[in-house]
Amino acid sequence: MGGGVASGSIARALRKVVAPARVLDTLEDRIVYAYDGTTQKSLPDVVVRAQTVEEVAAVLRFASRQGVPVVPRGGGTGLSGGAVPVEGGISLVLTAMRSVRDVDKRNMVAVTQPGVITGELQRTVEREGLFYPPDPASLAFCTIGGNLAENAGGPRGIKYGVTKDYVLGLEVVLPSGEIARLGGRQIKNVTGYNLAQLFVGSEGTLGVITEAILRLLPRPRAVKTMSAVFQDLNQAADTVAAIIGSGIVPATLEIMDQKSVGYVEDYLHLGLSREAEAMLLIEVDGTPRAVEEEADAVGRICREKGASFAAAKDPTEAGNLWKARRAVSAAISRVRPSKIGEDICVPRSALPAAVRAIQDIGRRFELPICIFGHAGDGNLHPNILTDRRDPVEMERVEQAIRAIFEAAVGLGGTLSGEHGVGISKKPYLTIDLPAETIELMRTVKKALDPRGIMNPGKIFGGEAS
């Protein structure tokens, strides 16, 4: 954590390279830029609220010269600690760069600044009849810049993929302060390395994304939202496999277990069934006719598997189902003082096994674990409800997390589907990645950021301990 003296001198120097009003260094300002959605916190020495790419470049040139850490920050809603300045330095806040520069209907691309709220971008392109599918649960308050840095996913991943699948081009500021333009508005581009994609999911460790060119789709003409409630969690998992096996690609295929549903019901009182072991939230979209056919087929499969099935009759009912799903993460945080949310992703076929493994781990370590997530992607969010201030229990939590990761990797899966490594998963990196792979990543990092100023303490460093 940076000391007060250093903090003042960095701020003084920064006020000479960017407009002084952008630089904040009071303790009050540092406190509010110390945390992100993990509730982990560490004070930056100074906060810079950049407004232009030139200001970002000036900050990085300065930081490179002085060897000061730079931690890029969007909405501060990340779930792996990406925006937490664990080694102090500069919290580089990009929320003031928040204009959608262009919605290019002919080429079906949007050009956007990093501080644009994801949901705002979606509304903007939807007004033009276009569609930006990636939809992390935090879409009403997370930023595109953060989505790109973490390669955020969301419920629509099963049909539409994740953030990376929409990136055609990026403007990035390298640690040296140079500005690089990678990719462009073309759909196809193999001229040289695919460097734009290198920055997607780089968690702010390689540079700062200052503009993105994103691919858009036509807005689907019809959507149908459905729910299926199961007495047995395994039946739900089997149903997921059956739906996918039938050749239908739903726009979303979400699962919530009994605990998750119960806590959401405590909070929202939507009339969800507390007795059932699992609930699926299924959405199909496309042309009105295709949507009707697919919805019928989904209903048939769910009923065959013993579900109590219902299709939303109107947008209000559909909205309530989504409300339930989006509220899970926050609703379960009301239950105990802390929650630790994980983000494993397994091959879809391993979903039932993964669910069972997590349930066993909860029993073995005597910890309440809620399971929900993107069943269609095999991406589950086991959330351990705990109390960070109880060291005895936290020891069991650490063991349970490790067991969950080992189970996921054992099933051919990975530590994180859409939250990133950051600080949360870095102690477990070696469970998933062989030493050579980590070394290759470090080589890339060194090549782009030789002085190691970009978001130090993230992704790497846990493997040595």
């Binding site: 303790l27 009050e28 959605g37 993990t38 509730t39 809603t77 003031a96 909070y267 926050a330 945080s333």
Partner: protein
Amino acid sequence: MTATTRDIGASRLRELEARLWTCNKCGTCTSVCPLYSIGAEESLSARGKLALIGAVMDGELSHTRGYRRRLYGCLLCRACEKGCASGIPTYDIMMAARAELAESAGRPRVQDFVLRGVLAGRHGLRAGAAALRLYQRSGLGSLVQSRWFSRLLPAAARAASLAIPEVSMPARRADIAPGPARAVGTVGYFMGCAIGALFPNIAVATRRVLAANGYMAIASTAECCGGPHQVYGDLPAARALARRSIDRFESLDTVVTDCASCGSTLKEYPALLADDTAYAQRAKVFAAKVRDISEFAVERGFRPPEAGPGPVGGPEGGGLPLRVTYHDPCHLSRGQGVRRQPRAILQAIPGVELVEMDAPDRCCGGAGLFFLTHTGLAESVGRLKALAIAGTHAAVAASGCPACLMQLRAALSRQGQDGVGVVHPVELLAKAYDREAHAPKA
């Protein structure tokens, strides 16, 4: 643990501490905060303020001027609280933190002068006219500053002159007492300070509406409910005023008010006086009797005004041919859950066409005295509200809160929308009753 008057706020804050720590910094509050949306400044968000309050409680931050400034950089609109899935009582925590700050670091003297000397003075609001002149000449930017009259903000004075209606004297009881011809009941009328001193016409309208429905209103001169004192962390004064209100009105079965902020403060007396052995129970009984005028009217099945003969709105007919839009005051919608009733009143008026604006319950930025203490932020928030109103092409914007009415008037004026009328719903209802009285009976 019983708190002394010196540490009620600190004790409240300690009670709420466990809730404070359940904030998982998810950021949902940033998506609904009218202040955060202006410039995405983290210190204006609820989670940012909770982090600062937590830092003070943990001893990582002291009661700095910066802390004070950030605690007061809040509309108290409760949007964050309603949007918080973790259920954090941000409003209560903010109020407790302000009280704790006042107890440990003292209250600015100018604040005491206005809140204790004028609003809570022994003579009720007899001194209201003086307060008004103070608003109009100086603005109240200094309310949250600590130096005596040293920071009179010209911007606040401008905001005040735009927003505050010209009034020569506070309304007196005699000015506003037309009784019903035949009484079916008697209610207490709690005339708050802003209505009494700044909007006597609303007080007249409220009593006209009560009378037209057969209710005799018993009122004293304008009261202060203690809301402003709570907002500025002066819990001892707020509690004294709460006890006074209870003493004055508890013999009546119903207490009606036409001020959203008063209503929400009166209904929350039980929490304010929870540890007052003499008043805790009485506060509960009292609070259960409090109704916003719109709530009361709908609950008692108010009589819809008659359109009268002839074309609606014609020279000899009743009714009001008006396109009206309704702004939900925070203290009515989120504060008291009263959203339907004011609209029901408007819709009952023959000729009125109610058109909903975009996000009618989004805070207008008035927020008590916020529009005077934080002119820049309040202007930005107000601008969005004015645009939403203009988007409806309504001739009149109605709202049941005097602070909202002042802010709407100023915000509309800044957008060049001076032509849009700004009224309390009861004013329209009273007018419709008046027209009916003048219309020739068939």
